[in-house]
């Protein structure tokens, strides 16, 4: 007898429908699975057989064939256990009361018949709903995640018997939700902890308001990491769509814990500098998202950027420009979103004391080499450059507490609102995403401002790209103060923050 069940798999960050076909016929007893399977899928056979037995079902000594179609897509993961088991049971004559042609089933089986959670539920359910399926049977532990999608009925199951029960009777006993703590609000840090550093904080505020890339450079202990780690507390709230995008990525990488529903907080990723190209960009024979994608709509913090492998840094150039990364492998190309805000921190030289020559023990060449580790093209993509000066003793103890993150964030949110209104007709959200053509359309300068920029262009030996960046920053500064026009003060401040004077002249 033959039976067909819909299941789903993840490709990149998107779900795709996979059909599980089972056939039980007479012949020599055997269990065969076909359909371009990875080894984790092939192992499903053993799990299914054992969990069927332990759930009280008897496997007849028959010829069982399983096919996962389309056969040309490579299948990976353990989510096919449950649909295979159900397909076999249906073939063996278990009758189904429901029409299961509009149902998608995913889940991994344990040997005792329990259904375990799998990664990537959100994109699978999201895709199923989009394709018009009406019901989705998912592991109970993935319930929260699956319920984020509107327009599809979620049936969470704890074990195989529950799933079979539901299919044969249409009844499912969903226990009341235990109160799940929303730990999205993990703001245990606050901007007010940073004493002094007004220039730096202002720079961070500007950066947060338009997701500008930032480079902090300064001696050890000057507070580079401290301020970077507090950045998420002033970033604007994610919109629902942004949240879904981020949650999808985390779902695919299996980084959502049971309790978490939608990710509301912007991601903050701080990979260690020993990270590999694949770790940063994503990869593997079946590509998984890397840090640039995990930082999507959030912050990618590269502490000690000079210590990163140079090739690793260079691969970020393209995603920084396009907001996504395309990874091609033998079995297909995958696009991962990677629209992140880069915050990099570095020491000015190997010993960390340059330009204090009395303390610095490095040779001019060492300093050059150290600073040249960030290539020109990458440096060019950094909007805001800031020098971080260690806080003095008086500042630590006598300075009043700084402004709270909350009030900074309020200003940031307002600026974001203004930008959204401005770009209502465009596909972009922030000033930082303006391209050359759009800059001409949205940013206009008065004669006086034009004059200032012109003068600086010559003095600072700016590039065209550099000038555009100044314009974008100036626009954001104006937005922060609710100015329609960019004032001279705005442009001067933008020039100050953009100007990169940190490099050595030897």
């Amino acid at each position: 007898m033959f039976c067909k069940i819909n299941s789903s798999a993840v490709q990149g960050v998107d779900g795709t429908i996979i059909t599980v076909e089972a056939d039980v016929s007479d012949g020599l007893p055997m269990f065969a699975m076909v359909g371009y399977l990875s080894s984790s899928v092939k192992e499903a056979g053993e799990r299914v057989r054992t969990s069927l037995k332990n759930s009280g079902f008897h496997m007849p000594p028959k010829r069982i064939t399983i096919n996962l179609s389309p056969a040309d897509v490579r299948k990976d993961g353990t989510g096919f256990d449950l649909p295979i088991a159900i397909a076999i049971l249906l073939c063996m004559g278990k009758n189904s009361k429901l029409d299961i042609s509009n149902t998608v089933i995913v889940g991994e089986l344990g040997l005792d018949g329990c259904v375990q959670k799998i990664p990537g539920i959100l994109p699978m359910v999201y895709h199923a709903a989009k394709e018009g399926y009406e019901v989705c049977i998912v592991p109970y532990e993935n319930k929260k995640e699956a319920e984020l999608v509107d327009g599809i009925k979620i049936v969470p199951v704890k074990n195989l018997l529950e799933a079979i029960n539901y299919i044969s009777t249409g009844i499912i006993d969903i226990p009341n939700d235990e109160e799940i703590k929303d730990n999205n609000n993990l703001a245990s840090v606050d901007f007010s902890e940073i004493r002094g550093q007004k220039v730096l904080k202002r720079g961070m505020e500007i950066a947060a308001a338009s997701m500008f890339n930032v480079l902090l450079s300064g001696a050890q202990g000057s507070g580079k990491s401290m301020i970077a780690r507090r950045l998420p507390t002033i970033l604007p709230q994610m919109t629902f769509d942004e949240s879904v995008e981020v949650t999808k990525i985390y779902s695919v990488s299996g980084k959502l814990d049971n309790s978490s529903s939608l990710i509301m907080q912007r991601p903050f990723r701080a990979p260690h500098h020993t990270i590999s190209v694949k770790g940063l960009c994503g990869g593997g024979s079946i590509p998984k998202p890397g840090e640039v994608s995990l930082a999507h709509n959030g912050v990618l913090f590269l502490d000690e950027i000079a210590e990163f492998n140079k090739t690793v840094l260079e691969v970020m150039r393209q995603p920084m420009e396009d907001g996504q990364i395309l990874i091609s492998r033998v079995n297909g190309s995958y696009i991962f979103p990677a629209n992140f805000m880069m915050v990099a921190a570095q020491n000015p030289c190997p010993c960390g004391n340059y330009p204090n020559m009395k303390k610095c023990t490095c040779t001019p060449n060492e300093i050059r080499k150290y600073q040249n580790k960030i290539s020109g093209p990458l440096l060019d993509r950094i909007d805001i450059n800031m020098q971080v000066e260690p806080v003095s003793y008086e500042d630590i103890f006598s300075m009043p507490e700084g402004e709270k993150s909350e009030s900074i964030r309020y200003r940031v949110e307002e600026a974001v609102e203004i930008q959204k209104k401005r770009f209502a007709d465009e596909i972009i959200n922030y000033n930082s995403q303006l391209s050359g053509k759009l800059i001409k359309k949205y940013i206009r300068l008065g004669d006086k401002q034009e004059e200032i920029l012109k003068k600086s262009f010559a003095n600072m030996e700016l590039s065209a790209r550099g000038t555009y960046r100044i314009l974008k920053i100036a626009r954001t500064i104006a937005d922060l103060s609710h100015n329609d026009e960019i004032s001279s003060d705005n442009i001067k401040e933008a020039i100050f923050y953009r100007n990169n004077m940190g490099s050595v002249k030897l």
Partner: protein
């Protein structure tokens, strides 16, 4: 004819094992390079007899090379390459060869030249060598720029060694001030070392001059750099040591200068400041301490062109554009870099206001940012 002379000089200077001393010996004993080329064993014997009991006898190897190796192919090849690279050569006896170098110990026997060697560098022009640490701090940098600009503005040529730090700043400031500057290399004339100075090399070739006693492709090695210092001091009327550590190459230049009877000037640094220990020691040993450009010009008996040094007038004019706060901020600055944060806290102003005022002052040329966010008073 002069092409022939050039080729013969290139031949003489590119023989294996024949050094400056040997060449000088030959030049002293023969009238021209043609005669040296034509010399035979007999001639050598005659000369040897002349010096018989004298220690000045020529080393056997050297004479052998000059007698045996009469092949000009290599020299011709070098000549062609130099022509392509736009490099000229001068040597003792050449009309452009600086007379000043004839009177120093170990006169270079050939000099390769890129750019334009100003003929007046020889006689009526005053030349000052500005030397100092490769790892100068901000004070050293500012002083170098102040003196190099001031001296250039007064028509004094600046000579240095095209290295990192003080050298490079001295050249750059002289070029910026529209003066003439000459760099002496410690490596082959077509070798750019340090690599980072490549833009400076290009500027020097255009309006200044680069010379080296080392031919094509000689790679930089530690031993050659102290030697070129004798040419730096030899060409100058005085050597200004801006900032030198206890053991610094600039002290070698100062030594050469003393040997050659040139004046040594030093800019005093703070006591117990390691980066000025060498220059302070020089003052203790008798170098002339200088605190202004005028000090040097006075010492050289030159006329002072006030307008080049004294920018006070310009600043005074600008001051009328400044309001009280701006004036106060400007007056609070010194050569010690102040971080913008300190200004904000001291004057209790907002970040954007501070950025604004500093931007204005910087644009007026009153202050400058040696490093992002740090400000110092501008001296020139």
């Amino acid at each position: 004819m002069s092409e022939r002379k050039d080729i013969l000089n290139l031949w003489l200077n590119n023989l294996d094992g024949v050094g400056n001393k040997a060449i000088k010996f030959f030049r002293d004993n023969f009238d021209s390079v043609e005669e040296i080329y034509a010399c035979t064993e007999n001639d050598i014997k005659k000369i040897n007899e002349k010096y018989k009991e004298n220690e000045k006898c020529i080393n056997r190897v050297n004479t052998e090379q000059i007698i045996i190796n009469k092949n000009l192919d290599k020299a011709k090849r070098i000549y062609e390459r130099l022509k392509k690279l736009n490099i000229s050569i001068i040597y003792p006896g050449h009309c452009d060869f600086p007379d000043k170098l004839m009177h120093i110990y170990d006169t270079p026997q050939i000099l390769y030249i890129k750019g334009k060697l100003k003929p007046s560098i020889n006689d009526f022009d005053k030349n000052i060598a500005i030397v100092g640490s490769r790892k100068a701090d901000l004070y050293g940098r500012e002083m170098t720029e102040l003196f190099s600009r001031g001296l250039s503005g007064n028509g004094i040529n600046i000579i240095s060694g095209l290295a990192y730090g003080i050298d490079g700043i001295a050249h750059r400031s002289a070029l910026d001030a529209g003066g003439y500057t000459l760099g002496v290399l410690g490596c082959g004339i077509n070798v750019v070392y340090p690599r980072a100075n490549i833009e400076l090399y290009a500027r020097m070739e255009e309006t200044g001059c680069i010379i080296s006693e080392y031919g094509l492709d000689v790679s930089p090695c530690a031993g050659l750099f102290p030697l070129r210092n004798r040419i730096i001091s030899g060409l100058s009327d005085g050597v200004l040591v801006v900032q030198a550590q206890k053991k610094s190459g600039s002290l070698i230049t100062a030594d050469y200068a003393l040997e050659q009877g040139k004046q040594v000037y030093a800019i005093p640094g703070r006591l117990y400041d390691a980066s000025s220990e060498g220059s302070n020691n020089l003052i203790k040993l008798g170098a002339v301490p200088v605190t202004s450009v005028e000090d040097i010009i006075d010492d050289l008996n030159g006329e002072i062109n006030i307008s080049c040094i004294n920018d006070n007038k310009k600043i005074m004019e600008n001051e009328s554009f400044l309001d009280n706060l701006e004036m106060d901020i400007y007056n609070s600055m010194s050569l010690e870099p102040v971080y913008i944060e300190e200004i904000i806290n001291k004057f209790k102003i907002s970040t954007s206001r501070a950025i604004n005022i500093l931007f204005k002052l910087e644009n007026l040329g009153l202050i400058k940012q040696p490093l992002k966010g740090y400000y110092i008073k501008r001296l020139y």
